[in-house]
Structures are given as structure tokens and as C-alpha cells.
């Protein structure tokens, strides 16, 4: 079992390394270099060749690409993502608190979404073909068909403007303590839960139906086991496995949702930082955020693999 897990771990590290190559190549090598990318056309027009050369030398952009990549990778591994080109701010400092805030939002969302998805998926499977199933399936399609920026603004309209229970825009500051941030995060969390739960519900439902139709559930039922026992002991663990196997997709969807709601509600997280950085072409920040997100997705996937191994003895000996 330990060997199987170590193998996954090594594969995951390989994926992260490939992501660093992709991030670096797509932002610094293919389009030219970070300096050209970050300058507007007006600024570029005012600069002479000598100015370019001097700025490049300042930023270390005159070195060959592999050397720059190696330098960037080593620094990033130590948590140093360089400085922004325009404000010369330390990127690590720029993203530290927003990262904390986004992780907080992610955790709360997952804590709400996962149990809810399990409950809805199982109810839909248990009463399949009947009203609860129809409601869950249609609701799921509606949930992931409506973009988060639309449902988020709709919630603002309903619960901040028409019935003013929550603030329309979050007034919390980046460095506020978690309790303040969470107090303001009800609508954002609700928005992401609605948008991201659908996929999980469908996976759990399908997995549970498969388990209910299985030979082992039939055997247990014909051995006189009660419904509750069959559901909890025999069917449930097996039905979670397909959902766990596509955990990477779910986490990726969750992160996308978080980026959007941060913009919609003005939540001071990494998503807002990212959007501003892309607009200003702050390459170092975009690189850092992409890398962090990839590490989170890969790590969650690894965690899901471990959970599958815990639930399914066959996965352990594989």
C-alpha cells in the first residue's frame, strides 16, 4: 500500500514539474519576454533599444531561457516568486494573505458542498425515477448551467438589494481575521456550492445506483440485512469511489468558482489578485497563482487517491 501511494506521489511531483514548465513557457518564452508583455504599447514606443536592454539586464531577462527557468524554479521552490515589474513589490507578500483568504473560502465551501452532494446524490439514487430524483437531476443541470457570475449577482439582488440581509459588496480587508471574512462569506459560499455541487451529485447518484444494482447488495438483501445496513455498510463506501476518482475535476471546478465569486462579491482573495495581475500583465503574480492552484489540485487528488485506497482494498494491492 505504501508503495502504491509513493508511486502516485512521484507521479504527482512529475505533474507539478510539467506544470511549472507550462507556466514558464506560456508566459515568458512563447510571447517574447516578461518585459514586453508587461509594457503597454505607449510605454514601449517611448523606450529606445538601450532602455530595453538596460531594463532587461535589471530584471535578469538577458540570460538564456533555460537559465531563467532554472533560477525561477529554484526560487519558487523556496517560496520566492520574484517581484512585480511595475510596483517592484515582493510577489510572495502580495499573495500571502489573499491565499489564506481563498483557502478559507475553499474549505468552507467544500465542507458544505461535499456532505450536501452525498445526501442529495444518495436520495436521488434511492428514489430513482421518482420525484426526488427528478428534482435533484434537474436541479443539478440548472446548477451547473447557470454561470456563477449570474447566480452570484442574482443572489445579491435577492438578499442584498430586495431583502437586505447581507451586504452587497464585502467590505472586509485583506488582512482581516478569518472570523470577519467568514461572516461576510455566506453568499459567496452559497454561490459556489450551487455551481459546483452538481457534478458531485451526479457521480454519487450513478455510483450509488450501480452499488444498489450490484450482486453484493442483492446477496446482503437476501441474507435479511435491513435497508439502513445495506445503504450504510455495503453500498455507501462503494458509491463514493467514482466521485473520489474525479476529485481533481471537482477541485479545479471549485477553484474556478472561487475566482469568479471573489470578483462578484469583492472578496479579498487570490482570484481578485489574479484578475488584476492578468489585466496589468504582471507575469510573476500570474505564474505564482497558477502554480499554487496546480499544487492544490494535485495535492487534493493525491488525498482522494489515499481515500480510495482506504475505502477499496483492491486499490491497495494494485
Amino acid at each position: 500500500m505504501a508503495r502504491a501511494f509513493l508511486r502516485r506521489l512521484a507521479l504527482s511531483l512529475g505533474v507539478v514539474w510539467l506544470v511549472t514548465v507550462l507556466v514558464f513557457v506560456s508566459t515568458e518564452i512563447l510571447p517574447g519576454d516578461a518585459l514586453q508583455v508587461s509594457l503597454t504599447a505607449d510605454e514601449a514606443a517611448q523606450m529606445t533599444e538601450d532602455d530595453f536592454a538596460r531594463r532587461r539586464a535589471e530584471l535578469g531577462l538577458d540570460r538564456p531561457a533555460p537559465a531563467r527557468y532554472a533560477g525561477w524554479l529554484l526560487a519558487a521552490a523556496k517560496g520566492d516568486f520574484g517581484t512585480t515589474i511595475i510596483g517592484k513589490a515582493d510577489v510572495t507578500e502580495v499573495i500571502a494573505y489573499p491565499l489564506r483568504n481563498s483557502v478559507l473560502l475553499c474549505l468552507v465551501t467544500a465542507l458544505v458542498a461535499i456532505p450536501a452532494a452525498l445526501a442529495i446524490g444518495i436520495a436521488a439514487a434511492y428514489w430513482r425515477g421518482r420525484a426526488p430524483d427528478f428534482a435533484a437531476s434537474s436541479g443539478a443541470i440548472l446548477g451547473y448551467s447557470i454561470p456563477e457570475f449570474a447566480s452570484g449577482n442574482f443572489l445579491i439582488l435577492c438578499f442584498a438589494i430586495w431583502v437586505p440581509v447581507f451586504p452587497a459588496v464585502i467590505t472586509a480587508f485583506t488582512k482581516d481575521p478569518p472570523s470577519v471574512l467568514l461572516g461576510a462569506a455566506f453568499l459567496p459560499v452559497l454561490t459556489v456550492v450551487i455551481g459546483s455541487i452538481a457534478h458531485l451529485v451526479r457521480l454519487v447518484r450513478a455510483g450509488f445506483i450501480e452499488a444498489l444494482n450490484s450482486d453484493y447488495v442483492e446477496r446482503a438483501r437476501l441474507a435479511g440485512a435491513s435497508r439502513l445496513r445495506i445503504i450504510l455498510r455495503h453500498a455507501l463506501p462503494a458509491s463514493v469511489i467514482p466521485a473520489l476518482n474525479s476529485a481533481a475535476l471537482y477541485v479545479a471546478g471549485l477553484l474556478s468558482g472561487i475566482i469568479v465569486v471573489e470578483k462578484v462579491f469583492g472578496y479579498p482573495g487570490l482570484g481578485l489578485v489574479l484578475i488584476n495581475a492578468v489585466e496589468k500583465r504582471e507575469v510573476a503574480v500570474v505564474q505564482a497563482v497558477s502554480l499554487i492552484a496546480a499544487v492544490i489540485v494535485v495535492a487534493m487528488n493525491l488525498l482522494a487517491d489515499a481515500a480510495v485506497m482506504a475505502l477499496d482494498p483492491r486499490a491497495r494491492s494494485r
Binding site: R7, P237, L311
Partner: protein
């Protein structure tokens, strides 16, 4: 009052359009305490549905529509939820067909049996554990304490079935319903499990309902037999009476279609002398395990699939290759066909060395060696009409196209007693037997000198099997092609092959004339196989003509 009495039982399954399709129609029978009843029929006959109904249960989508099921005078259809749960696994127990899929994969086998014990004996955890260990011992599982903590996938097929049987015994049932309990097992394992079931029945004085498609097994296990056809009971009575003097025409055909090794069939014998069409010598093959890392070498674990296998097939003859699962017989077929390259040994075809992979063989050689696969549906491309399926080899090997190809394809279907109108059908529109006959037609379309048949009838019902085998033999005689016939069923081999090679664990155990080998096996393993295959014959009558079923039409 009988122990079990079923009256006017009907079961239906909900179809996609919402209506009920009948699966069991007006079934009635009764059974005395301690008797055993065999439910016999082919696939789709409703025998498994009837068996499940005895526990007041239907598969998802099914409903019991009518009738009474009286167990010791009490109608189990009238029981409430708690009553039916006490009945299931208590007075009536169920043993399913596939022991691997019937055990919950993420639970230890001991705890699954203990669960049944706790439900029906209402005892504590420790007591249930002791009872489970006793049950494990009762079904002859080795080292019960160690097995208790294993997961289902860590057990062998026979062990799993013993675990499932022990779980069924947990509630000390009066009636045990067994649904094809040995179909997923090898013949030699099947004997042991049957032996166990019989000894347990005697010990616990339980009444048995035994579902099987295998008439031999039913003859051996059951006092009474009930024959089903398309949801209806067509005949029932004492096993010896039904087998010796079947009243219904269908029963007669079913019994006649059972392939038997004690009956001299007109097997296809070699033409006079000459060089063999195929000679393999010292064939070796080992499954490569998938490399875990790019730099690591594939580890060789487990036994080789083939080790030093040699045999020859004479022109025009049928050579049987017989063995249990894992014996390497299908690997041998894949090597000779050119699907996989062997790790050692050499192949000669018509006197010349045969390149290993099909892609390395010249087109004429590819034409001369054809293979027919086990699963008829997946061997035909579902997106091609039968005409296109047959036209492809005709175009590739004989340059036939258009009307000429269609005419020839129609003739081939005719030789297999299929309506040429099937040319415009898709494979899915045909029954399993018809699909397999199309696959045979495709192989013969190439006009081959050697046909490899890899378990071609094991997915078919017994009456269809008899028909397919007869057609294969007649086509083979007409074309003069030799045949390498691979099967796990000695009866089938006896019917088609003049000579036989017995394989076990990738090595040849015995070779010789089929009649001789099966009558006087020299190797102890062959003897075990022959013993297993001849069980239950005592009650099978000698009805005239084994080919009676071949002349009948498929249902």
C-alpha cells in the same frame, strides 16, 4: 401439506416503455421437506427469476404479479417488511452465481458472514465471530481464523463460493435456493463445491432448489426437476423419470443436445497421412507485467502462460485443445493466429516456418489461417451490416466485390442455415447463435486451411451449441479445412475432435485419440477432468441421435 407450494406464480419486468414484460408465467410446483428440486432451462427461460421469487424478491424493475408462495402453509407474499427480512437468510437462504461480485469488495469476508449470523441469531460480536469460524470450518475452508480477515479479492474462486455458502447457512435455513452456484467455477472446483453442498444438505436436512443450465449437475444433485422455457414450466417430475422419458418435446431436445464424452460422435478425422498443416514445437509465452517505471524492467511474476507446448494438426483433421481456465489454451490460440508473439518455440505451417505476428505473414498465409472467437456479439462490428462483414474478407482475399461478393456472402449464410435476408441486418438484430454462425461464415469466406475455434460455443445455450457444432463440422468436411478446437468442455471436444491435447498450467499433459484418452486417461489430471465430466450420466438416457437438436430451429 407440502413444505413448499407455489401456485400460479407470475413475475414481470418493467420495460423501458413502462409496461410489464412477463418473465415467469403461471408457475406451479410443490416440494416436500428434504427434497431437492432442479430448475432447468436456457438463458431467458425465467429460472433465476422464479428462484428469487421464492425469497419474495425480484431484481430491480421486477414485480411479482400473481400467485401464492406457501412455505409450510404460510404465504410469504403476505409477510410484512420485518417478516420478510426474518425469512430471507433465516428460513430461506440464497446462494448466488458469481461469488466474487456477490461479496462486498470493501468488507472483510469474515465480517460479512458474521453480519448474517448477527442478523439471524441476534447475538453479540464475539459470539458471531465464533459462529462464523465454525461455519468456515463446516464448509471446509482452510485456516478459518486467517481467512476471516481477508478481503474477497484475496481469495480463490472456490474459497469465495465456500464463504458465500457459509453465509447462507448462518441462519440455519430450512430451504436453500442456489442460483447456478458453480457456473463461474472450473470443473475441478465445481466437483468439490457440489460435494460440499451435498454433504451440507444431508447434515442440515435442508430442502434445496437448485438452478442450473447444466443437466448433468442437476441429475446428480436433485430428486426432482422442473424444465422452463420462455417463462413457462413445460415439464416437471422425478429426475430419473424426466430424463429417461421426457414428455415434452423441448425437454427431449435439451437432453439430446447435451454433449457427452461417452458417446462416439462423428468427429472429424484426419485425411490420409502427409505433412501436418500446423506444427508447433516448444511454444513458450509469458505475460509481461506492465513496467512501473520507464527505467525498470518488466518483472516476471507468476507462472508462464505456455511452457514447451508441442503438437501438430494434420490437414483436414480437428484437434481438440482442452484445459481449464489458466491452462494457456487461449494463449496458444492467440499465438498461432498471430495476435501475440511467443517468447520461444517455433511454428510451421504447411511445411514452412510461420512468422509469428499476423502482420509479418504474407496475405496468402493470413487467408489460410482463420480464427473464431468466444463472444459472438463482440466479434462482429456492431456498425457494419452482415453483408459488409462478410464482404471484407471476400474482397481482401478473393478480390470479390459488388454483386459477386453479395452472392457469395448469401451462399455462405445458406451453408450455415441462415436466411440470406440477414445480409441487410446489423449483428445486434441476430440471436447469439446466429451471430456465431455469421462469425463462422466470415472465417470460411477466406477459404482457409486451418480454423482456430477459441471456445466458440461457451457463450451459447446447449441446444444452440449442438446446432452450431453440427454446422461447423459439415462446413469443415465440405471445405477440407483443418481445425484447432479449443474448449473447456470435454463433451464438446468429444463431439468434434478426433484427437485431443490436454493442457494444464501451460504444459501438455496428455495427447492422443479422443475416444482413447477419454476412456482410459493416462494422466491423473486428465482422469480428474474425465471424472468431472461424466458425473450425472447415470440418469441420462441414451436417446437416439445426438444431432436431433441440430435439426430443430432456434427459439
Amino acid at each position: 401439506m407440502s413444505f413448499l407450494e407455489v401456485k400460479g406464480l407470475g413475475v414481470g419486468y418493467r420495460r423501458p416503455d413502462g409496461r410489464l414484460g412477463p418473465a415467469v408465467i403461471d408457475a406451479a410446483f410443490s416440494l416436500a421437506e428434504g427434497e431437492s428440486l432442479g430448475l432447468v432451462g436456457e438463458s431467458g427461460s425465467g429460472k433465476s427469476t422464479l428462484a428469487r421469487a421464492l425469497l419474495g424478491y425480484c431484481r430491480p424493475g421486477g414485480v411479482i404479479t400473481s400467485g401464492e408462495i406457501l412455505l409450510e402453509g404460510e404465504d410469504i407474499r403476505k409477510l410484512d417488511g420485518a417478516g420478510i427480512r426474518r425469512l430471507r437468510g433465516g428460513r430461506v437462504a440464497f446462494v448466488p452465481q458469481n461469488p466474487l461480485s456477490s461479496l462486498t469488495p470493501h468488507l472483510r469476508v469474515g465480517s460479512q458472514v458474521a453480519e448474517a449470523v448477527r442478523i439471524h441469531r441476534r447475538c453479540g460480536a464475539e459470539e458471531a465471530r465464533q459462529a462464523t469460524l465454525e461455519l468456515f470450518a463446516a464448509v471446509n475452508l482452510p485456516d478459518p481464523a486467517a481467512l476471516y480477515d481477508r478481503f474477497p479479492h484475496e481469495l480463490s474462486g472456490g474459497q469465495r463460493q465456500r464463504v458465500v455458502i457459509s453465509a447462507a447457512l448462518a441462519g440455519e435455513p430450512r430451504l436453500v435456493v442456489l442460483d447456478e452456484p458453480t457456473t463461474a467455477l472450473d470443473k475441478t472446483t465445481e466437483i468439490q463445491v457440489l460435494e460440499l453442498v451435498r454433504s451440507l444438505r444431508d447434515r442440515f436436512k435442508a430442502t434445496l432448489v437448485y438452478v442450473s443450465h447444466d443437466l448433468n449437475v442437476v441429475a446428480e444433485m436433485c430428486d426432482r426437476v422442473l424444465v422452463m422455457l420462455q417463462g413457462r414450466v413445460v415439464e416437471q417430475g422425478a429426475t430419473t423419470r424426466v430424463y429417461r422419458a421426457p414428455a415434452h418435446d423441448y425437454t427431449r431436445r435439451l437432453i439430446a443436445a447435451v454433449p457427452r464424452i461417452d458417446r462416439a460422435a462423428q468427429a472429424v478425422a484426419p485425411a490420409a497421412g502427409g505433412e501436418p498443416i500446423l506444427a508447433v514445437a516448444d511454444l513458450a509465452y509469458r505475460y509481461a507485467t506492465r513496467r512501473r517505471w520507464p527505467w525498470s524492467r518488466g518483472a516476471d511474476d507468476g507462472r508462464p502462460a505456455l511452457a514447451g507446448v508441442s503438437f501438430a494438426v494434420a490437414a483436414g483433421e480437428t484437434l481438440g485443445l482442452v484445459g481449464e481456465s489458466g491452462s494457456g489454451k487461449s494463449t496458444a490460440a492467440a499465438v498461432i493466429a498471430g495476435l501475440i508473439a511467443p517468447d520461444g518455440g517455433n511454428l510451421r505451417f504447411a511445411g514452412k516456418p510461420l512468422p509469428t505476428l499476423a502482420s509479418a505473414r504474407d496475405p496468402a498465409t493470413r487467408r489460410r489461417i482463420q480464427i473464431i472467437f468466444q463472444d459472438p456479439l463482440s466479434s462482429l462490428n456492431p456498425r457494419h451490416r452482415i453483408e459488409a462483414i462478410l464482404a471484407r474478407p471476400l474482397a481482401l482475399f478473393h478480390g470479390l466485390a459488388g454483386a459477386a461478393a453479395r452472392k457469395r456472402a448469401g451462399e455462405l449464410l445458406g451453408q450455415l442455415q441462415l436466411d440470406p435476408a440477414f445480409l441487410d441486418c446489423y449483428p445486434r438484430q441476430l440471436s447469439g447463435g446466429q451471430q456465431q454462425r455469421v462469425a463462422i461464415a466470415r472465417a470460411f469466406a477466406a477459404d482457409p486451411d486451418l480454423i482456430i475455434c477459441d471456445e466458440i460455443t461457451s457463450a451459447l445455450d446447449v441446444s444452440v451449441q449442438a446446432q452450431v457444432l453440427e454446422l461447423l463440422k459439415s462446413l469443415q468436411r465440405r471445405s477440407g479445412a483443418a481445425c484447432l478446437f479449443i474448449s473447456h468442455d470435454l463433451g464438446v471436444i468429444a463431439q468434434v475432435a478426433a484427437r485431443v491435447v490436454v493442457l494444464r498450467d501451460g504444459t501438455v499433459r496428455e495427447t492422443g485419440a479422443t475416444a482413447e484418452v477419454f476412456r482410459r486417461p493416462a494422466d491423473p489430471y486428465t482422469r480428474t477432468l474425465v471424472d468431472a465430466a461424466t458425473r450425472g450420466y447415470a440418469s441420462l438416457p441414451d436417446l437416439p441421435g445426438t444431432s436431433a437438436a441440430a435439426n430443430g430451429t432456434e427459439p
